[in-house]
């Protein structure tokens, strides 16, 4: 099946039905291996045992941003090509991205208390991450407010593209401002500053979280297509009665 074929909702549903069980199984396996490696990883010389929180915090931060990235590409698909699956993809990604952003904030807060002595500071990185969560909630509210899916999609697409400005702010906040949050330590010029005994489990957990994201996204897209079919059939039923 060519990728272009997936643009057809019926073909996409067949693809999703076939793929989701395999993707779910792979996600469980990679998570099992990742958690095992994370638990076996040594304590950090500065953070001690709280480094184990990083195996959740860092991947969820990446996925919170990836979610908005997926929505931004989909928003272009909605506004430029008016593709029906583009707004299905955007709508399905929003709650998943919001959940990972929330997880990032919660785990970051639980790490901050023993390491920084506080659950929260209005630091540039933390604040821009909180703004991302608020943007997610805003776009979800917008989808729910406008009844017509195509009108809602256009409004949500504009908000998504405007909100995409927050992604580079999150990424570079630690370079642009003097923040309590540590600077880039994984993807940086000159290589990672993290020891491989911690970096390898971190990458395995990142792969597991990414697989989880795409499994849930595929399933949520399938649900959204079915929801639109239900809506269409109900409109047909209502027009037949009247």
């Amino acid at each position: 099946m060519a990728i272009a074929d997936l643009a057809n909702p019926t073909r996409f549903l067949k693809f999703a039905n076939r793929t989701i069980p395999w993707l779910s199984g792979l996600t469980v396996l990679v998570f099992a291996y990742g958690i095992d490696q994370a638990m076996l990883a040594p304590d950090d010389y500065q953070q001690g045992a709280t480094v184990k929180i990083m195996f959740l915090h860092v991947p969820s931060a990446w996925l919170g941003m990836l979610g908005w990235g997926v929505m931004s590409v989909a928003a272009l698909g909605t506004l430029v090509w008016r593709h029906p699956l583009a707004d299905v993809a955007a709508k399905a990604a929003a709650p998943i991205g919001a959940a990972f952003t929330l997880l990032c904030l919660v785990t970051g807060s639980l790490w901050g208390r023993p390491e920084w002595g506080t659950y929260w500071v209005w630091d540039a990185r933390l604040t821009s991450e909180l703004v991302l969560l608020l943007l997610y909630l805003g776009v979800i509210a917008l989808w729910r407010t406008v009844e017509d899916p195509s009108r809602a999609a256009r409004a949500a697409a504009i908000l998504t593209l405007v909100g995409a400005v927050d992604l580079p702010i999150i990424k570079f906040s630690v370079d642009w401002w003097n923040t309590l949050h540590q600077g880039s330590s994984v993807f940086r010029v000159g290589g990672s500053t993290i020891d491989s005994s911690i970096l390898v489990p971190l990458f395995i957990m990142a792969v597991a979280f990414t697989l989880l994201f795409f499994t849930l996204h595929l399933a949520a897209m399938r649900n959204e297509i079915l929801r639109r079919r239900v809506r269409t059939l109900r409109l047909m039923q209502a027009s037949a009665v009247s």
């Binding site: 001690g48 639980l110 023993p114 399933a219 059939l233």
Partner: protein
């Protein structure tokens, strides 16, 4: 010592992850069931898309469950 002192924060983080991911998975599964049941119900009443087959799989399954 450090591990013991901070164990509560580590456990709370993993518990939060399980709770948030668990809610997400439950939402996706329950939403799928709801939409399939709604589609099956409409198709049972004869409301079908022009491009759809006469009776889809969800409708057949629900018909089986009712008999």
């Amino acid at each position: 010592m450090n591990a013991v002192n901070h164990m509560g924060f580590i456990v709370a983080s993993y518990a939060a992850a399980v709770a948030i991911v668990g809610v997400l998975i439950a939402w996706v599964i329950l939403d799928y069931r709801t939409q399939r049941l709604r589609l099956a119900d409409l198709e049972m009443r004869g409301v079908t898309r022009r491009s759809a087959p006469a009776r889809s799989e969800p409708a057949k399954e629900q018909a089986k469950e009712k008999t």
